[in-house]
């Protein structure tokens, strides 16, 4: 498995979410320049999984990409750490509590 999530970006619009299902997994949201602004996950308490989580973000980002995984917690932490390693900061919409205690990667 690649450390970075490198799937093609898809428009964050209701029609596109029609093909997203209710699995657990991780996702990234980006602005119109495809800069990552949020890294999230659909976990065991997410209503309707990835679909539900992405619907919550309709209107707050330009595009998304996702990865289905049951290891959503560790993958979420890994993606945040990789983002920090690449950019020197966490995505702007991720809160301090979400990034508290994260380690450092040099992928």
């Amino acid at each position: 498995m690649a450390v970075r999530l490198e799937k093609p970006w898809r428009k964050l619009v209701q029609e596109e979410l029609g093909s997203v299902h209710g699995q657990m997994g991780v996702f990234q949201l980006a602005n119109a320049d495809h800069e990552i602004i949020f890294i999230g996950f659909a976990g065991g308490r997410s209503l309707f999984g990835l679909k539900g989580e992405l619907q919550e973000h309709l209107g707050s980002a330009d595009s998304f990409r996702l990865e289905i995984t049951t290891a959503y917690k560790t993958r979420h932490q890994e993606l945040l750490m990789v983002h920090f390693a690449d950019h020197g900061h966490y995505p702007v919409l991720n809160t301090a509590e979400e990034t508290r205690g994260l380690g450092r990667l040099s992928p």
Binding site: V3, G43, A71, E78, G103, R104, S106, P107
Partner: protein, 388 residues
């Protein structure tokens, strides 16, 4: 032979049991089922409660400011601490602290100043780096990471895998081959600062477990001063080996705690869940599952407490620790499996803790030396050290 906890042990165990039930379980209800940490304010509050209870850093010797409970009491406490969803790999979400890397108690004064004391003050974190891609069951022979002396420094090249906490650590104990000796004689333990050029945490190794994940490390021409050798050159394996035997006791205790909780839930559920007009508990097939749970738990408890008692007395305990690890990890796996079965469809949902225990418990039969290695250790004890 004393088969009963002392009054003091009873007191401590009851205090921890109440803490888990009244403080940890309610918070866990609102966390993600795979959560591995509490919100910062809850963590701080609970840590301070544990300090007030006098149980923070249970393994820390009094000369370093800790209570240093004996191994039997620590085992009894560890059995209580793991009785919640995240309990196997994040017992009480870490609010009881720890001794850090106990091997540092044997460090020299300079090393204690730079690593041990800051760790005990909570200013630094360490990791334990033994396993390599070439294998972890026989580390003395599998270690291929090499260090070559260059003046007052050593240059380290190689990699490690399945290393917990390296990405969050300030330093680590890294076991490296320093001589051509292919076996135990050629291993040295280095204390490595994680900001050393050439130290890389390449990735998280995603596994079945949700907490305390493992990482893969790479060392590229990493220059470490000779003053960072823990103990003596080529005598590092003894440090690793002592830790491996000792670690098997709390490792076993964590499994027993989860098994007790799973069994307790299965007993309760069997009494309220009805099929064909009668509770599950009235069915012999279910009763036998519960009986087998009870037997597995009891066997594991006694084997683990015996190993702990031997360790407390200063007697050899390697064989007993291996037996405890074998019995408790295999027994607890069966208990979780049966308890999940009794819960039917609900047992496999994330609404209940069984699926997390089931996944994480599977690792316990491999981690800290797989069942087969434990049997090998026991065989070596029975047949003599001539057995390789």
């Amino acid at each position: 032979m004393q088969l009963q906890p002392t009054q003091e042990q009873d007191l401590v165990v009851n205090m921890v049991r109440r803490f888990v039930r009244e403080e940890i379980l309610p918070l866990e209800m609102n966390l993600d089922p795979d959560a591995d940490q509490l919100a910062e304010e809850d963590e701080d509050r609970l840590k301070s409660m544990v300090k007030d209870m006098g149980l923070y850093g249970m393994g820390i010797p009094p000369e370093y400011g800790g209570p240093e409970l004996d191994m039997v009491t620590r085992t009894l406490v560890a059995i209580e601490m793991s009785q919640h969803r995240a309990g196997l790999y994040a017992p009480c979400y870490g609010v009881f602290g720890g001794a850090g890397l106990a091997q540092l108690f044997e460090a020299n004064d300079d090393q204690k100043e730079r690593y041990l004391y800051p760790t005990l003050r909570g200013e630094k974190k360490g990791f334990f780096g033994l396993t390599e891609p070439s294998g972890g069951s026989d580390p003395a022979r599998a270690i291929q990471t090499k260090a070559v002396q260059d003046g007052d420094d050593w240059i380290i090249n190689g990699s490690k895998i399945f290393i917990s906490g390296a990405d969050r650590a300030d330093y680590g104990l890294v076991f490296v081959r320093t001589s051509r000796d292919k076996g135990r004689g050629g291993i040295t333990c280095f204390i490595v600062d994680t900001d050393t050029p050439g130290f890389h945490v390449r990735r998280i190794v995603h596994t079945l477990r949700s907490a305390n994940y493992a990482t893969e490390l790479q060392f590229e021409d990493m220059r470490v001063p000779a003053k960072n050798i823990l103990g003596e050159v080529n005598k590092g394996f003894a440090i690793a080996n002592d830790r491996l035997s000792r670690q098997r006791i709390p490792y076993s205790a964590g499994c027993i705690g989860v098994a007790i909780k799973a069994h307790e839930m299965a007993v309760e559920y069997s009494k309220i869940r009805e099929t064909f007009g009668a509770p599950l508990s009235s069915r012999q097939s279910i009763q036998w599952m519960l009986i087998d749970n009870e037997i597995d738990i009891q066997q594991a408890r006694w084997a683990t407490l015996e190993a702990a008692a031997l360790a407390d007395r200063g007697d050899p305990f390697r064989k007993q620790a291996a037996m405890a690890k074998l019995i408790s990890t295999e027994g607890a796996s069966r208990v979780v499996d049966r308890s999940m079965q009794i819960h039917g469809g609900y047992g496999v949902t994330k609404d209940f803790p069984f699926e997390r225990w089931y996944r994480e418990m599977r690792i316990r039969r491999i981690g800290e030396g797989p069942s087969e290695v434990q049997r090998h250790i026991i065989a070596r004890d029975i047949l003599g050290s001539g057995l390789r």
